[in-house]
Symmetry: C5
Amino acid sequence: MKRKSQVPKAELRRVLSSLSIAQGKRARLWRLLYASGPANGTLMVLPLDQGLEHGPTDFFPNPPAVDTSYQVRLALEGGYSAIALGIGLAEKYLYEHAGEIPLILKLNGKTNIADDAEATSPAFATVEDAVRLGADAVGYTVYVGSPRQDAEIREYGRVRRDCERLGMPLVVWAYPRGRDIEAKGGKGSLYAQDYAARVAEELGADVVKLHEPAPEAGASPEPYRSLREDAPTRLRRVVRSAGRVMVLFSGGVKQDDDAAVLRKVKLYMECGATGVMFGRNMWLRPMDQALALTARVRSLLARYPR
Amino acid sequence: MKRKSQVPKAELRRVLSSLSIAQGKRARLWRLLYASGPANGTLMVLPLDQGLEHGPTDFFPNPPAVDTSYQVRLALEGGYSAIALGIGLAEKYLYEHAGEIPLILKLNGKTNIADDAEATSPAFATVEDAVRLGADAVGYTVYVGSPRQDAEIREYGRVRRDCERLGMPLVVWAYPRGRDIEAKGGKGSLYAQDYAARVAEELGADVVKLHEPAPEAGASPEPYRSLREDAPTRLRRVVRSAGRVMVLFSGGVKQDDDAAVLRKVKLYMECGATGVMFGRNMWLRPMDQALALTARVRSLLARYPR
Amino acid sequence: MKRKSQVPKAELRRVLSSLSIAQGKRARLWRLLYASGPANGTLMVLPLDQGLEHGPTDFFPNPPAVDTSYQVRLALEGGYSAIALGIGLAEKYLYEHAGEIPLILKLNGKTNIADDAEATSPAFATVEDAVRLGADAVGYTVYVGSPRQDAEIREYGRVRRDCERLGMPLVVWAYPRGRDIEAKGGKGSLYAQDYAARVAEELGADVVKLHEPAPEAGASPEPYRSLREDAPTRLRRVVRSAGRVMVLFSGGVKQDDDAAVLRKVKLYMECGATGVMFGRNMWLRPMDQALALTARVRSLLARYPR
Amino acid sequence: MKRKSQVPKAELRRVLSSLSIAQGKRARLWRLLYASGPANGTLMVLPLDQGLEHGPTDFFPNPPAVDTSYQVRLALEGGYSAIALGIGLAEKYLYEHAGEIPLILKLNGKTNIADDAEATSPAFATVEDAVRLGADAVGYTVYVGSPRQDAEIREYGRVRRDCERLGMPLVVWAYPRGRDIEAKGGKGSLYAQDYAARVAEELGADVVKLHEPAPEAGASPEPYRSLREDAPTRLRRVVRSAGRVMVLFSGGVKQDDDAAVLRKVKLYMECGATGVMFGRNMWLRPMDQALALTARVRSLLARYPR
Amino acid sequence: MKRKSQVPKAELRRVLSSLSIAQGKRARLWRLLYASGPANGTLMVLPLDQGLEHGPTDFFPNPPAVDTSYQVRLALEGGYSAIALGIGLAEKYLYEHAGEIPLILKLNGKTNIADDAEATSPAFATVEDAVRLGADAVGYTVYVGSPRQDAEIREYGRVRRDCERLGMPLVVWAYPRGRDIEAKGGKGSLYAQDYAARVAEELGADVVKLHEPAPEAGASPEPYRSLREDAPTRLRRVVRSAGRVMVLFSGGVKQDDDAAVLRKVKLYMECGATGVMFGRNMWLRPMDQALALTARVRSLLARYPR
């Protein structure tokens, strides 16, 4: 698939060349943003860690997807910006395509067998593993607000320093989680997502993965509880709270209606997102449909150069 | 015992030569798969860690088995692919046969005196110990879904990196365990085993040890709860979920009927397993019977070259 | 903005040149005290970690403040002694002004999603990060009296040693917190603040950030419970308990009345404070008002050379 | 006291010369077994850690024993194989006799002020300390089955590796302990001691200290609950479960009747023990009686060359 | 103040020159015992960590004492053997007198805001800090019998090894503490203090700080519960349990009657103490009275050369 770099917006280019970004990190971010996928400063990432996070349950609607070759093929043929995988999948399925598509190595994860009241996500791979595998970024989940968040934030701190030392971009899955956020309106609320966006920025992420915030349902703290904002306003608020951290929105559970998916992408991009990280909404479709939808998302992103 | 290497299937050979496998790991896996035991890409492993995991209780049906010389003799004369031992047994009983049979050094373990509600298995040996003893792989238990799984996954991560650094294959005992999996149908369910298989793959195991999944009994989450699959279908599902990780099935408690054991092995191999790791089903038999059954299992594996 | 160094008081100068202060620490403290901001031995610090500590909630009264450029501009144009930021904001917003204003890199933090009964604040940046970014001090929160204070004090000890090794001044946010202080009169009491001041001194801080102590309300231990001291007496007591550690008072929630803010500053300085660290009271004002109030605070500090 | 080395039994000598034993460990074990104490492959160890484990309470029956010089004199004049001490006693009382008697440096310990429901024994000395003091072995307590056994087993693993690296024999105090073993028949049962023996072997001990197992009293798991074995049978079972790990039996609380003590020793040796580690049964006697009993134990051990 | 070394008792001198004491530790102990304070083998130490341990509360009876200059002046003019301070006070108040009086750097500490049911005292300074500051000893609190004592004993072990490596004497504040000792008669009982003395010896302290044991009040375990010993007998018992570890008794809460204080010191010395560590009983007196009492204590100690 042919790729053509476009000239990035002045602002983003300036950030990328700032003194606080190591040269290696700049090189890898450039590759993700301007030499891969839409190559116009947007990001279209295909993630696959659901087998660890939710079990094989997630693959039931599309059994071939249990074989990671499926996602690798989709990422390659669909022209994604990157594929996000843990170390096991990255080593066993990407070696035959090393260099053909950027890798975001996801460093931590957990099962969902225990509930999320005290969720914590331990790392089982390192930034050096990412370097060894030629990855262009690492991913790390922070369970924002979990009672055990201190263990995670300390580990995050070590990952962040390794990223700095090795010039590796850092993508934070900023997920509100735990009994306290449930008592305050739940993980999907605007309050929760807005807080998560800000946490990612203050912790020093380069890119943050968020969910589209839901309308407030009454249990969030003020002033959120009283807000009556529509979807675009909520999205813009969250993107603003992430500041200079690039925002990717996830797709969550599969949406069968292609048009609805595309409307979502359009909405996210118009509200300032840098891109999307859609997993199940892509690889739970039959390959031809997945490729077709991917192509339409790509075209859509092409209209929002950054 | 004479051994003859067979030509491995193209696919497995390709994985073994992939860029993501260190040369040392490839060499050791080759030795296990094609230069030991059935030597045709299958694995027949004799494990012995039950004395630590369950206490001497397990040896009561066959008292001589409390002397590890028994298992060592069985492994050698029976022509197993490898024997799996912890550091204490490996150092005290294998030195006189170093090199005669591959060793899988089991790194962690625990007693069963406390119940398994918060099971966690601490390491007391290292990958460097395995190198020093000339082992061809290490073993590590992950209690999938235990409330304390984060400690284990972090330790696993360090073991995995040492394996990478030292070219050592990593065999994961992927055991669903803890109060949460009990509440969701128990450790033996298809749901539990299928999840464990996937966890091993995403964590980066080379080989995974699983139990044959039981039929669903009603407490598993959907869609498993509603599945009505027969044994072969369940086994194939689990093997598929393990992806490119080689699957060994364990024997569990002793089965007195030799024919039944062989039917199990045949079933496992036809469903895609790489082999078996039978302990009590072998070394709880009198030596002559154990050797006879071993020979029949070996012949059976010879019919499923990988 | 022109700055003129004034001659510091003999005592402070003596401390700064004492044998126990590394040369680098002396150089950086001098820069903060006599070559930046009021430049007369007082400190006027603009902090911004509320987005992490409280969520974007804090920015609602003045939406532009969610963009850290706002605070950076205020710090620069207002002529502050320093701006206090976490690693994420420091790297993403200060690079274009590196050197123009001293940075206090805040090393630890947490969200307020879980309550503070067992508050603990994990570090996600290091003293070496501060050196790399050209910071002139680091900040570290100690939750004085929290049931988990041991984890924090141990981590603090490592930060302190790195500060010693690298010549970096150490500013301690000494915050009484947790269920036990709540049972003893709350975090704002004279008892709590006085204890916090002393803790900072015994732990080895160079500067301590405290809150103005409230009058005793009955639940503090004796002799505090029976004290009936007015505000200046309480403040002087706290400053005295901090000993040779310089005290900054924080502003807490926004106070709309400029004159009231200035009365507070005057009171603090007359009671021996080295300066103030006002966040929301500054950056929640529209820029022109914030700059105007800043100028008046600066003038006020100019009357209290140290 | 003159010592004469005897020729060890072929089997033990073979183990001592095995490839898996570092040369230094072999040298030190040889010294303990064949150049000290009975010097015939048996061990007679005088332990003293009761002051830490139980408090000075233990010394009340024989007040002079609170002065460690008492035990040192007894060990020297009595011709013991070794004295087992923690770092404090070893440094303060053995320096004037360094080299005259082997030292087993006990690395961990705890008080009995808290109950043993979650017993855990932290290390406060290292294998390097043992090397520095010229010790011939280290001792480490493992509380088999305690809910916190994972912390201990991890620490044990580090001790074991240091022993390997430095050629230091490792004596494990394998003590069943904690609420779970209490619920299963108690720490003194055959079930508990038999399990402990096996744990020591699988963890890689060189020598294990056990208590004589009591008859089963009904709460142990099957098959132990139904066993009706006499004392010698129980002892032989435990020794067999320890495999190639040398077994020392402890004396426990003081037994006033010398003849009863000697009957115990004879029983242990006939059941395969390598020796005894009697503390209170020795040093709670007046010196002349302690020396007399010691001499009779020595003579007895002389009749069981290993 | 002129100091004259006296010849130490033969026994103590022998311990100081023993093989197990590093040369640097001997040099520093000699300085404390024979070249400072009474300089006759006794110790008169002025401690100040109460501001951290109890809050500024302790200074209310004598407000000038909140300024550490007060204690430094008292220590210097009073001719103490040493002053014991944490890192914050040592760095900020002793630099102008470095070398004029020995420093015991207290390494750990905590607040008393949470109760002591699970007391634990984290370190925030190191033995290397002590070396850097020219200290002649370090101090470390062990909360004997606390449910969390394992964390402290492990940390203590690291401190002890650093002391060994750097030749630094180690003073242990051996304080029985926690819910379990409260249930067994409380921290002040003879049982508790006697146990603490022994713990310090077995852990390897050089000097131990204890409290004078109270009479038994009924809840201690036997045989203590039944003891009816007078104060001198109790003190001698505790000193004996500390073995070759030098014992300092603390003064505890302030005693207004000078004569009573002196009677205590005389009693302690006659019962075998090496000296006293009195804080509040000294620095809560007006300076002239404190100096006068100090002089009388010094004279008293002069009558008990060691």
